[in-house]
Symmetry: C2
Subunit: 220 residues, 2 copies
DNA sequence: AGAGATACATACATGCATGTATGTTTCAAG
DNA sequence: CTTGAAACATACATGCATGTATGTATCTCT
């Protein structure tokens, strides 16, 4: 075997990432060797070591690959619902649930992050990134809540940060349990109901059937 | 070294479990070898293999060791609040939070189960037990909710199972995030507030400062 | 068109984790 | 008091995962 064109090289890189996502999801991060990943990709360890420093570098790349579309979707929601923080919150939790249920890549990565990966020093890079994301996400939700309170969408005196932490935990917890056993409940439905339930408890008045102004249908 | 008395043997077994809890919590389950555990316990792998079949048997024993006191605490709450399902729910989430914050063993085990352990086939025994626990726990919470609805403590028409799933996820999610970074928030306070917030959203009317009839002070 | 760099595959050396087999005391039962 | 077994420690064999070094054929640039 020998040198490929740049496009082909990018394709093999993708193959490696796909294979890693598969095998990590099936056997867990720690228990999978680079040999298994290479084999599952139809390559050898040489290819893996060429494209990635080691297993944890691969993991970081995997995380990056699934982070971008999620952030784009969030940005789109931000842009479309500038003046309605409550609707933004509702749309975002629904959007995450939708992605997890319908996009295998997002679902697999969530499964890996929550269930197939030990949060220890070796994962430090990925872990720091994850914790960083989480903090950023939390700040974002907190500010949504703060804005909603300011606009009178939620009860005055509500602790925005505590409300944000709890809502975030609620969604993550539902995700964790659903990934453990997807047959137990309808993830999208429960996430939507729980979100609205939580917001209602904070004094929100929601139109029952809808989650704020309808966003345009998006093709998948 | 040679044969010890039965009590001494039980003591070394405990030493091994303590060491395993330590090292698993520090380095993750997959990355720790039985050699490290034995060394941390001041023993050799021979001792570990004498008392346990392998690493996953050890993990199961660890889980068992921390499950019992929690279940006892739950049973006590059940006994003391027979006629007040809503108070039982509030006491139990508070009790779990209290144990996690103040009892190192419970906290370490939660950390291992949620953050330091890959949920894969090799952990099948422990994992099945964990999932089983979770289902049993969920059924328990569901029936508490159902009872609360029957007694008029919650809004009629509430979906008991969905409410239970979400509350469970909420607490687990808070636990997950708090263990990831305990400096972020006051776990006990947020759990208590979030629980009450959730129940309020379901139509509960709670006396603000207290969580049902006072349980007797318990020594630690 | 030649040369160097690219994109891998192959080969090699090393180390560690596991499981088992065997040794060695000491306890405990008869 | 003897004997078998308990409660470990030690020794051994095996396999796998890792990282690197090297080979090699092809692309790409000039």
């Amino acid at each position: 075997m020998a040198r490929k064109t740049k496009d082909e090289a990018l394709a093999t890189r993708s193959q490696i990432l796909d294979a890693a996502e598969r095998v990590f999801g099936e056997r867990g991060v720690a228990r999978t060797s680079l040999h298994e990943i290479a084999e599952s990709a139809g390559l050898t360890r040489g290819a893996v070591y060429w494209h990635f420093k080691d297993k944890y570098d691969l993991l970081s790349a995997l995380w990056e690959r699934c982070r971008l579309p999620l952030e784009a979707a969030f940005a789109e929601i931000d842009a479309q619902l500038v003046d309605d923080p409550l609707a933004r919150i509702r749309q975002k939790t629904r959007g995450v649930a939708r992605s997890i249920v319908h996009d295998p890549r997002t679902r697999n990565m969530m499964g890996i992050a929550l269930l197939r990966c030990e949060m220890v020093d070796e994962i430090a890079a990925s872990r720091a990134r994850l914790v960083g994301e989480r903090d950023a996400c939390l700040d974002k939700i907190s500010s949504e809540f703060a804005a909603a309170i300011l606009q009178g969408q939620l009860r005055k005196g509500t602790d925005a940060r505590a409300a944000a932490i709890s809502l975030h935990a609620l969604i993550d917890g539902l995700c964790y349990h659903w990934l453990l056993d997807p047959s137990q409940f309808d993830f999208e439905a429960v996430v939507a109901a729980a979100t609205d339930q939580w917001l209602t408890g904070l004094g929100a008045v929601l139109s029952p059937g809808k989650a704020g102004p309808r966003r345009p249908a998006r093709r998948r």
